[in-house]
Symmetry: C2
Subunit: 155 residues, 2 copies
């Protein structure tokens, strides 16, 4: 009797665990991926739009490996870049069009406009995170052309 | 007795289901995301490297919305592009450096070289899939510069 009761309790507990596990298995993002997306979006807003290096840099892990060929390596490279942005393009704005996450990586599809009224550039930024902190960055940047061979826009 | 046996069988079956569910819940990709990655990698290889429109086009869904500003809309746009590639850059090769998936989207980070021995371009391609078929494409393309402000490369 007690054995049966214990089996039933174990069954109930397993059922609960099973149901709790089904949802994440079929959703696009794990909890870590969702958290990583929030970290990267906040980092991007603080860095690229607010141009606030101190606020952005709280998201760095134990390194910031930079693959953008125009930028110096490490947090100091971002600091210098934001200094230039602040001085030369204080009105520059980047709009995040789409955020993707896969494992330790977050990918942003961005429309960046350095001077209001210009077409700007399409950018994809890729960030690698470790323990919820940003440790590496790659990007690809393309100016939006005046004319296109289709009517769909770049986003 | 039979009730207890059934309970135990149900318990065993739930345990198996639970264990089978744990792995996908904590892995980066769902089964659909894994399948989507395979579809896009095969499409890319057939289209961009083998330049075989017929083989690639089996992966199209009911539309192919093109956001690359140099390419015409739809499957016909890709067909024309591959024709140009075949004629002008028959030795062109694209190496996929990283594949990401999030929900219906697959993202490729690619090193494309049109003529052997040249530096080539960094590209990020974004594909949207519906029911395992490719329906939309965006990309961002940047020529790899001769000199860089860091030693990390663009990949």
């Amino acid at each position: 009797m007690i054995g049966t009761l214990l089996t039933r309790l174990a069954l109930l507990s397993l059922t609960a665990a099973f149901l709790a596990t089904v949802a994440p298995a079929h959703a696009a993002d794990t909890a870590q991926e969702e958290a990583n997306k929030k970290v990267v979006v906040d980092f991007y807003e603080k860095a690229i739009n607010q141009k606030d290096f101190e606020a952005a840099s709280k998201h760095f892990g134990n390194r910031y490996v930079q693959h953008n060929p125009m930028s110096g390596d490490g947090p100091e490279g971002l600091k210098a870049f934001l200094g230039v942005l602040k001085e030369k393009f204080p009105q520059s704005r980047s709009e995040i069009k789409h955020v993707f996450a896969d494992g330790d990586y977050v990918i942003l599809h961005v429309h960046a406009v350095r001077e209001p009224g210009t077409r700007g550039s399409a950018i994809v930024d890729i960030f690698k995170l470790e323990g919820g902190k940003i440790v590496e960055h790659w990007d690809v940047i393309q100016p939006i052309p005046e004319k296109a061979a289709n009517n769909n826009g770049m986003f």
